[in-house]
């Protein structure tokens, strides 16, 4: 599977990373090198092998559905780029 410039632009858009045409060119050759490395996997017959997503066979723990965290809105908003009246500000989304 080889990539082209349009693929790089599309992936960058999916990842929400702005990429200039010059950067896309440079990125294309690097990504192609990495995908070449990954391609080695295709030679392996994996029919019937169960995928391993985790090294320990553990199940998700459950806990009581109660509030355990304290309200630290002020602390958390102190590190936000832009807040007003306790709200996070972003550019207008709905017209």
């Amino acid at each position: 599977m080889s990539l082209n410039i349009q693929d790089v632009q599309r992936i960058a858009h999916l990842a929400r990373i702005e990429i200039s045409p010059t950067e896309a060119e440079a990125t294309l050759s690097k990504l192609s090198g990495i995908l070449g490395l990954i391609e080695q996997m295709q030679a392996v017959d994996t029919t019937g092998i169960e995928p391993m997503s985790h090294s320990q066979d553990v199940t998700q723990r459950l806990r009581e559905d109660t509030v355990t965290e304290t309200n630290r809105r002020k602390d958390f908003q102190a590190i936000a780029p832009l807040v007003e009246d306790g709200l996070y500000l972003v550019p207008k989304v709905i017209e």
Partner: protein, 486 residues
């Protein structure tokens, strides 16, 4: 005072307990060394002497009150991937350049509770993505053994700090080799525990099914004492393993008679520098003298660990790093037209080239139509890799081999070639994929540069691995060697 920096954690603890030195004096000695050496070595990103000395004072009071624990008053360097409340926590990235953590990571809490002193936050590859520390937004780190060379990565700052005696010990994290490879390149002892042993809470996420924190220190004994503090069950990490607390020093002095050491033929094949292989072989001869038996084993899927890792780790990273959107914390672009533009510009500005590459690879392998061919396939091969180890451990107690294929390379040598850089982790990555513990101990030198011996253990067999490392360090002195000019 110059002696103090070579003392073990146990010796430092005894000096503090017997009032031969105070924690403030010890801390000031390290801060003085950091002032002198850090401008060139660049091991630390953030220092906060007021906070550090306040902790040292509190430790002295605790010692005076007779409430000291093993690490009380001892200055420890923390990798800048651990959130520490009130400390700038950057993860080596422009994205978090001004991020002051509002809470403590589990690991930080454990050291605080033990009364250890936080000396500062150490340099690292951006979001732990790298094997040379060259992807840090805050500049590369120099290897104290040869300052024209890299310290390894991603825990390069912690590595240089331990090697140059800019801390008594340090923390690191290891997703594909980030504790063991720098331990090999900088000549000290580093341990990546079994996945799930140390809580990931407050440890900035890279690849969640692989990330694991561990100690970086001068000896196996010091690592055991550090691991006693770091390990433990934590409700706040969904993959933290709930098992009884262990004392990792308990088996340090066990004889090695009858220990079965597995040597995987794949770890001594093409790609290993001959001089590194010779040092590793000599170390294995030493183990034979200690009574160990050698078993030839095979880990046939070793080569596949790199392609599998470079699917799984970027896939998980692309998901984890989607949180950096410029809304709640971290960098936000100054100018933008709308919300989408704000996301795209913020992330383009905030992330460095290697992080972007991995996000793009991860996004691609998870995108519609490619999931089965890449992500699912990688997870299937991951099982084959883990099964290789299960088979091997039927024949041996520990596995040994090199931790890295070469000694420290020149700064800039591989910086522009991601694939060459990725091959640095050929002997370490499979251990993360399987979730096993691995460590690197100093085994000698090649042309004046340190070489590490990797010891891989079975799940939760850290006490035995530390025993194996400690026994070697009782009959050799590689771990006591120091770089010149520090």
């Amino acid at each position: 005072m110059s002696q103090v920096i070579n003392n073990s954690l146990k010796q430092l603890g005894q000096m503090l307990a017997s009032k031969q030195i105070s924690s403030v004096e010890l801390t000031q000695e390290y801060l003085r060394r950091i002032d002198a050496l850090n401008p060139d070595i660049n091991a630390y990103i953030t220092l906060d002497k007021d906070k550090t000395l306040a902790q040292a004072k509190a430790a002295d009071a605790r010692i005076a009150a007779g409430k000291a624990e093993v690490l009380t008053g001892i200055p420890i360097a923390q990798k800048d991937i651990f959130c520490a409340q009130g400390w700038r926590t950057t993860c080596g990235s422009h994205m978090l350049e001004n991020f002051i953590a509002p809470y403590d990571a589990y690991v930080i809490k454990q050291f605080d509770a033990a009364g250890a002193v936080n000396l500062g936050k150490t340099n690292m590859d951006e979001f732990a993505m790298g094997s040379s520390n060259e992807t840090s937004y805050f500049g590369g780190v120099k290897n104290p053994w040869d300052r024209s060379r890299v310290p390894g990565g991603s825990s390069g700052g912690s590595a240089a700090a331990v090697a140059a005696r800019l801390c008594a010990a340090a923390t690191g994290t290891d997703t594909g080799g980030s504790i063991r490879q720098p331990a090999s390149l900088c000549g000290f002892t580093g341990l990546k525990p079994t996945y799930g042993l140390v809580s990931r809470y407050g440890m900035i996420a890279f690849a969640s099914s692989l990330d694991q924190a561990g100690p970086m220190a001068k000896s196996a004994e010091d690592c055991a004492l550090m691991l006693n503090i770091m390990a433990g069950f934590d409700e706040k990490d969904s993959t933290s393993v709930n098992r009884p607390k262990e004392d990792y020093t308990r088996d340090l002095n066990k004889p090695l008679q009858g220990l079965r050491i597995g040597l995987p033929k794949e770890y001594f094949a093409d790609g290993l520098e001959a001089n590194v292989g010779a040092v590793v072989q000599a170390a294995i001869e030493e183990y034979k003298k200690l009574g160990a038996e050698i078993v030839d084993i095979s880990l046939p899927n070793t080569q596949l660990s790199i392609p599998v890792y470079y699917v799984i780790a970027p896939a998980e990273a692309s998901s984890n790093l989607s949180r950096y959107d410029g809304v709640r914390y971290g960098h936000r672009a100054k100018e933008y037209t709308d919300l989408m533009d704000m996301y795209c510009k913020t992330r383009a500005e905030g992330f460095g080239a290697e992080v972007k590459r991995r996000i793009l690879i991860g996004t691609y392998v998870l995108s519609a139509g490619y999931y089965d061919a890449y992500y699912l396939k990688a997870q299937q091969i991951r099982r084959l890799i883990a099964q290789d180890f299960t088979e091997a451990f039927k024949q041996c107690d520990v596995i040994m081999g090199p931790a890295a294929p070469s000694t420290a390379f020149k700064i800039g040598e591989k910086a522009d070639d991601p694939v060459a850089m990725y091959l640095q982790d050929i002997y370490t990555i499979a251990v993360n994929l399987a979730g096993l513990p691995g460590m690197s101990i100093p085994a000698g030198f090649s042309n004046g540069l340190p070489v590490g011996l990797q010891i891989i253990g079975n799940y939760f067999d850290e006490a035995r691995m530390l025993n194996v490392g400690h026994a070697y360090q009782q009959v050799t002195d590689w771990h006591t060697r120091m770089p010149e000019g520090i």
